[in-house]
Chain length 411, copies 2
């Protein structure tokens, strides 16, 4: 493969993650090694900014800033959600020619891989030599052909730690705040919601995933039974839960609420369940809705995830320099104990616009929790044990008085 000289552009797309900047860092640091790459440009707000010819010069950044990207959550270049039109694709190629961009990298999920594939295809068709690579990123873990996606490990760690803390909180106040609903992110795939189970003994009592149709009656029966058995209930519920007919359990009807890709806007599921439990079971219920914190927090960065995100960014650049194009870098699980990974490749066309749901063997028979196999799959990606919070042993002081006629003090 001939050496291709020219400039490089890289962009970030879709929802931010805790480690999407680690991928950016890996790509930049690899590009800085040479190999024929001249200018290193960053799209400001992804392809949408690129169309406005808005690019940041990454060669002019201080090395400490580039290195710091590895520990900085959210999308440092700015991101976008933008569906390209035919006119847009033409302008993308015009801009690539005008700036002599020969290396095109785009970090994102399934929609992004579609855009990236189209740009590569159209460049080739027009006879413009440009190497185009997709770098995977999504907290949702819903890309096929890769063991998991960079961003998922840290988000899974966040879910597990958050639920461990929320369950401890709920049990501490179980006389007063009986039911807690945690609304978690996910449109069609329940990976993140399921990751709450990694809190182990402090996992939610019930976990509802979009892979299983939601039944209001079954849900209420589950909550009531758990309350009777345990005295309090923590529920992780995916915002994208659907009824048996495929409709969202709680969709916002507002006309504003449709994103650039035509997806209906989620939100309101958690409050819907709170109202349901309070109305039907008369149990005091609270909502925690971590919302965008699930994707933007740097407090639970998994070391494994940060390393993998870096690796896929760096691999995309080194492979492109060596001649590869039209591929997305994947993660391959080499072993579990100790956990080791390598990177692989999949054609962009195969991964474009795809979504990978939780397989059946990761969901329990009742459809309200996960299986040990799921936890085995996720655990290495958390990058280490959860915080070592302690629990008092239950040694009781012997009683000396009879219980008064009025009985136990419950509110």
């Amino acid at each position: 493969m001939s050496k291709l000289k020219g400039n490089l552009v890289i962009g970030q797309s879709g929802g931010p993650s805790a480690v999407i900047n680690s991928s950016l860092c890996g790509a930049i640091q690899e590009a800085l090694k040479g190999g024929g790459i001249d200018g290193i440009y960053g799209m400001h707000h992804g392809i949408q900014g690129f169309l406005n010819e808005d690019m940041i010069d990454l060669r002019r950044q201080e090395a400490a800033i580039i290195a710091g990207l590895r520990r900085t959550p959210s999308a440092a270049l700015g991101s976008c959600r933008y569906r390209l039109t035919d006119t847009d694709y033409d302008r993308v190629l015009d801009l690539c020619r005008a700036h002599d961009i020969r290396y095109f990298f785009y970090i994102g999920g399934g929609d992004t891989m579609h855009n990236t594939y189209e740009i590569g295809r159209r460049a080739a068709e027009s006879g413009f030599e440009m190497r185009v690579m997709g770098i995977p990123k999504t907290i949702d873990n819903d890309l096929p052909y890769t063991d998991h996606t960079p961003g998922f490990g840290s988000a899974a760690r966040y879910e597990a730690v958050m639920c461990m803390e929320i369950v401890r909180d709920t049990r501490a106040l179980q006389y007063t705040e009986v039911v807690k609903i945690v609304e978690t992110m996910g449109r069609n795939a329940g990976w993140l919601t399921a990751a709450t189970a990694l809190a182990d003994e402090y996992a939610p009592d019930l976990i509802y995933l979009p892979e299983r149709p939601f039944s209001q009656d079954k849900f209420l029966a589950d909550v009531e039974a758990t309350y009777r058995e345990r005295g309090c209930v923590v529920i992780a519920a995916c915002e994208g839960l659907k009824n048996a007919d495929g409709s969202l359990v709680a969709a916002r009807q507002d006309s504003l609420n449709r994103d650039a890709f035509g997806h209906p806007e989620l939100g309101g599921l958690g409050q819907h369940l709170v109202d349901l439990v309070m109305g039907e079971l008369k149990l005091k219920t609270r909502l925690d809705k971590p919302g965008t914190m699930q994707r933007s927090s740097g407090l639970c960065i998994s070391e494994v995830d940060a390393e993998e995100a870096y690796a896929v960014g760096a691999a995309a650049v080194s492979l492109a320099v060596a001649g590869t194009s039209g591929q997305m870098v994947t993660l391959v699980r080499e072993s579990d104990q100790p956990y080791r990974f390598s990177t692989g490749l999949v054609p962009l066309q195969k991964v474009a616009n795809q979504e990978k749901s939780l397989p059946d063997n990761f969901i329990n028979a009742d459809g309200n929790h996960v299986t040990p196999a799921f936890k085995d799959y996720v655990r290495p990606l958390l990058g280490g044990p959860l915080p070592p919070y302690v629990t008092l042993a239950s040694h009781r002081v012997p009683k000396r008085l009879p219980m008064p006629a009025s009985g136990r003090r419950k509110p």
Copy 2:
């Protein structure tokens, strides 16, 4: 003061915090030093569990577990929200006599200090010698006579880090998700909501506190003006916001929603504001509602806060052993640079059922943000700088093409 021999009981009350267990740790480790204290008992779920004679033997816990309390959020003994009746107070004293409890410690906020005062008063009236001390705890920072409360520093750090991350996320996706509402905790006092400002350049654009009456028209005008100026808007809004007539802006009307102290249950403020902005301004708006995570997360423990929480627990025990009773331990700010504190005392009667709001000089003239004086007050309590996330410098790549006739790509 004569040496008082007997057993000790300690309990935790109200909402958990990141460092309430640090106070428990301080009290236990001080009690273990001797000084006439025999049994060291923990109320299981506060006074409510105590009434059920449900106590955990803290002398039988491993030293590593006791030490680990210092880094463990939530209430390790279990907590409660319970209003004592006259009958209950009688039973509390019966139980204290039956168990020869001569040292009574209760960790909590204003309601708790009232209970603690009453127990001490009634014990003295009945001629039962028992030393009774209050240990302050509340993330809300609303207790008077103390510079601040243990639990606030860590919760403030959580608010600041969370908002820094949310603002970065919002700015990264500012082409698509234009307005973000962050609903923060606080019934009548805006300390926690205001603490979001400590994110400095990544602070929310607008901060609404319950100390100022909420005006819907002013709010919408603020949001629209900020959007026009900055392209996206992050708003921190206290769940306890009130209208000019004192009514809650968004109260839940459900009859379940009243706690043991008769306070109406909060919740729904954030969604109310989301609906308002989407309906009136037609701007795409998202809700983040960290809920109980604000009080139960151990991810942002402030070292200063953990140390102070430990100190007030230890001081309560050492002072009681030395003869003090009927007091709450306070925190005194000795100096700001470097930050140093000492502990003081205030009679329980004075602090019982009191609430301390943000003073006027901490709120800006527009009533939609804080003043530098507030930030100066809070900063030392955060226990150190926020995470060192990096920001790319804005060096732009020079443009080479004219903007197409269709103009800039905005969704």
